[in-house]
Amino acid sequence: MSFEPKIVGFLCNWCSYAGADLAGTSRMKYAPNVRVVRVMCSGRMDPTFVLKAFQRGADGVLVCGCHPGDCHYMEGNYKTARRISLLKRMLAQLGIEDERLRLEWVSASEGERFARIVDDMTKRIKELGPFAKQKVSGGQHAKA
């Protein structure tokens, strides 16, 4: 059986979760690999959530928030942007590929964009291969 990556998606309630819902109402088909966890704001993203996901067998983590300037809570997405870039540096040191963690801005009207991002991320992670396998062979993995 071909490798089907598991991706955990953290979506902010106001823009990205609504955007993902719109993809559904518009019946856009996209890869079934993303499992969404709703947060009120992408600013709620604690780095441990990402590490926990990898620890529990996720092959990728997608974080989506409102476009810069459009945050429902004014500036939560800016804080996420900074946290994610710091976290990416740490993940690199742990030998985790950059593409396994992705931050994207998706507005409430961008259902199509959300679908495209999920498809693209799924494709890239398929190319990278499973995260768990890397754990077994290389031993380089994150422990949250």
């Binding site: 089907e4 598991k6 955990v8 106001w14 823009c15 979760y17 609504a18 993902a20 819902d21 993809a23 559904g24 109402t25 019946r27 856009m28 088909k29 996209y30 079934p32 499992r35 969404v36 966890v37 709703r38 947060v39 009120m40 704001c41 600013g43 709620r44 993203m45 604690d46 441990t48 959530f49 926990k52 996901a53 529990r56 067998g57 996720a58 300037g69 459009d70 429902h72 809570y73 004014m74 500036e75 939560g76 804080k79 946290r83 507005s107 409430a108 009207s109 961008e110 679908a115």
Partner: protein
């Protein structure tokens, strides 16, 4: 997972075939039965229906459930429905969790097996999460009965009057010197051919004399703080340089002012004085001085208006004033802007004479307009033939993809007015005739019988290069009639471009000011396109009229009244529910590092100097959770989105 006597019920909805057509709901139910702490799992055709909810309530009692998971549509649709059902059956509404297996699963997945797998994962996530959920108390705050309406067009006027008629105070803010909006610029209204200002001006007068409406024209909102029920809004009243209390509206200043500039109200085809009211029926009837063009402000001379003003109302030293108002809710009625057709080079707008926009034609045909209602060419003569182009900037991949909804109808109206006033030949260059409203199709039929030519096809270009004798001195419309073979050339005297309705140039700034979203078309986004077209994602902020999308006058009025009704319901209840899912600091463990103090965008966290601890003001907290993620000691919990709950959900979806 430790067992604290937690008993979870899981309900999987078929949603007819919307979910069950793709997801094997029976398999999901069987899977759910095997999850820890789940004591009952069932499927049902429509969980949101009354029998569905009753089943839920009965199970809560019979199985002594302490937590409930419903796997159905998006929580954005029915979370409240099921929370309420739980509450009615005696469970705290925050002990409910919804798994979105429709919008984010069955509708977006082609393969039935992978949709079922995904649904199982989402249900497992919800079950693990709900285990850690805690009961919360919804809090209530008093509702300030005052309302702020922004925009004084027909939509804003309608909302303001409806609310004020109930005896509640309304602040109506308008950026231009007078209320009236675009409707005041129109001549007749379709399909009844009522005179636009005849039906509008009585309403404008009502606004100005209403004891419950405080009108602030030539004013703009600068800052908005607070939340539903208790907003604080800073409004800048721009300097008019005319004392509103002293001015009698006699108009002498406008007569004596020696300088003229293009009139915005006349869409550039007429002139106005530098001290002006936009139109004779302006409300309030108090002029403003356009400081950008006034010779006194530019060179320090003139002061003619001051000299002739008997009421001594001219005040060159007037400054902008800031006023703060407190309101419970806000209605945005900021309207639309008309598309500038200059980028459509092929239509030669701004280059050839007698190529005008629909709004310019409205002003020309209006008896109070610059030509006194005469339809004339640049040289003063009467046109013998006129072409009207539909969909200029609308239904166009390069500009606006949407249909502007009013152009077909106003193009028909123009045909009638042209026929009536000049007897000229009229050519309608249309793509599709969209006459959807009450009496609209009948109006189309009537015009077809008045001898108007309908040519189906998008015009390729307008040119003044004549190839035959009849074309000399004319504007030649070149295009294709898709109902007939070959290219057509129609020589006419005048071209009217029915331009698109587009979002206001400052729409982005307004959206940010009020913290609301915009759709792909740039207009403000409603909370739900069908079931909640007047509310926004920010509680207490409503949108009416064309700022939500192009619409005609009846639709704007309907929406304006709908928002007023929603608002009056809130006012009569007198209280508003405020977010229960706020953040909380465990004071025992807080180290007082103050990291959270600075990350809070609402300044809801303050440092208690005495205890050397941070403290969250629950009234100001909006529950974004940014502090919970930032706290280095991990002692801030975002209620209903605690770290334990989110980690459990992550484990669940990956199990």
């Amino acid at each position: 997972m430790e067992d604290k006597g937690i008993r979870i019920g899981v309900y999987v909805c078929h949603c007819g075939s919307n979910i069950a057509g793709t997801v094997d709901v029976k398999e999901v139910v069987e899977f759910a039965k095997g999850l820890p702490s789940v004591v009952v799992a069932k499927d049902y055709i429509y969980m949101c229906s009354e029998p569905g909810q009753n089943m839920l309530k009965e199970d809560i009692e019979n199985h002594r459930l302490s937590r409930v998971v419903v796997a159905a549509c998006s929580p954005r649709l029915h979370e409240l429905t099921f929370r309420r059902a739980c509450q009615e059956a005696g469970i705290n509404p925050y002990l409910f969790q919804q798994a979105n297996i429709r919008e984010q699963c069955s509708w977006v997945t082609e393969n039935s097996d992978s949709a079922t797998e995904k649904a199982k994962a989402l249900v497992a996530g919800a079950v693990r999460r709900v285990y850690y959920q805690e009961p919360l108390e919804t809090r209530e705050a008093p509702m300030n009965p005052n309302t702020l309406v922004i925009g004084g067009g027909i939509a804003g006027i309608q909302s303001a009057l409806e609310i004020a008629d109930s005896g509640h105070k309304v602040y109506l803010v308008e950026t231009s010197p007078s209320i009236g909006g675009h409707m005041a610029q129109l001549d007749k209204t379709f399909p009844t051919l009522d005179c636009s200002s005849c039906i509008l001006t009585p309403k404008m007068t009502l606004v100005s004399s209403h004891r419950y409406i405080e009108l602030m024209t030539y004013s703009e909102v600068e800052e908005v703080t607070g939340y539903v029920g208790n907003f604080k809004v800073k409004i800048r009243k721009k300097a008019r340089y005319v004392n509103q209390d002293k001015c009698t509206g006699c108009g002498v200043c406008q007569e004596k002012c020696p300088f003229k500039v293009d009139s915005e109200f006349d869409a550039g085809i007429g002139k106005r004085k530098v001290i002006y009211t936009p139109f004779p029926q302006a409300v309030p009837n108090v002029p403003v001085i356009d400081a950008q063009h006034c010779v006194y402000f530019l060179k320090g001379t003139c002061r003619a208006c001051e000299k002739f003003c008997e009421a001594k109302a001219i005040d060159f030293d007037q400054k902008d004033e800031l006023e703060e108002v407190e309101v419970g809710s806000i209605i945005l009625a900021t309207g639309y802007n008309v598309f500038d057709p200059s980028p459509l080079y092929q239509y030669r707008y701004g280059q050839l004479d007698n190529v005008i926009t629909s709004l310019q034609f409205e002003r020309m045909v209006n008896a109070a307009g610059p030509t006194g209602g005469k339809i004339v060419l640049k040289d003063g003569s009467t046109p013998e033939s006129i072409a009207i182009f539909h969909c200029v900037g609308s239904r166009d991949e390069n500009y606006h993809k949407y249909c502007s909804r009013v152009c077909c109808m106003h193009a028909l109206k123009y045909s009638h007015l042209i026929k009536e006033k000049t007897g000229a030949e009229v050519y309608q260059m249309y793509i599709d005739m969209r006459c959807f409203g009450k009496g609209y199709e009948e109006f189309y039929k009537r015009l077809s019988e008045e001898g108007v030519y309908f040519i189906r096809g998008k015009v390729a270009e307008v040119t003044d290069r004549a190839v035959t004798k009849e074309e000399e001195g004319k504007l030649i419309v070149v295009g294709e009639d898709t109902l007939l073979p070959g290219v057509i050339r129609v020589p006419v005297d005048m071209v009217i471009l029915c331009v698109a309705l587009e979002p206001q140039p400052d729409v982005e700034a307004i959206a940010r000011l009020f913290n609301i979203s915009r759709g792909a078309d740039g207009f403000f986004l409603e909370r739900h396109p069908k079931l909640d077209p007047v509310a926004t994602t920010t509680d207490g902020v409503f949108i009416v009229g064309c700022c939500q999308g192009p619409k005609d006058i009846p639709d704007s009025v309907v929406q304006a009244s709908a928002a007023a009704a929603r608002l009056l319901a809130m006012i009569s209840k007198g209280r508003v529910e405020v977010e229960a899912a706020t953040a909380e600091i465990n004071e025992e463990l807080c180290s007082g590092c103050r990291v959270c103090n600075n990350v809070c965008p609402f300044s809801a966290i303050a440092f208690d100097e005495e205890k050397k601890l941070s403290h969250i003001n629950e009234v100001l907290c909006k529950g974004c959770g940014v502090c919970a993620a930032a706290c280095p000691s991990g002692v801030i919990s975002g209620k209903h989105f605690t770290t334990a709950q989110i980690l459990a959900e992550i484990e669940g979806v990956l199990a």
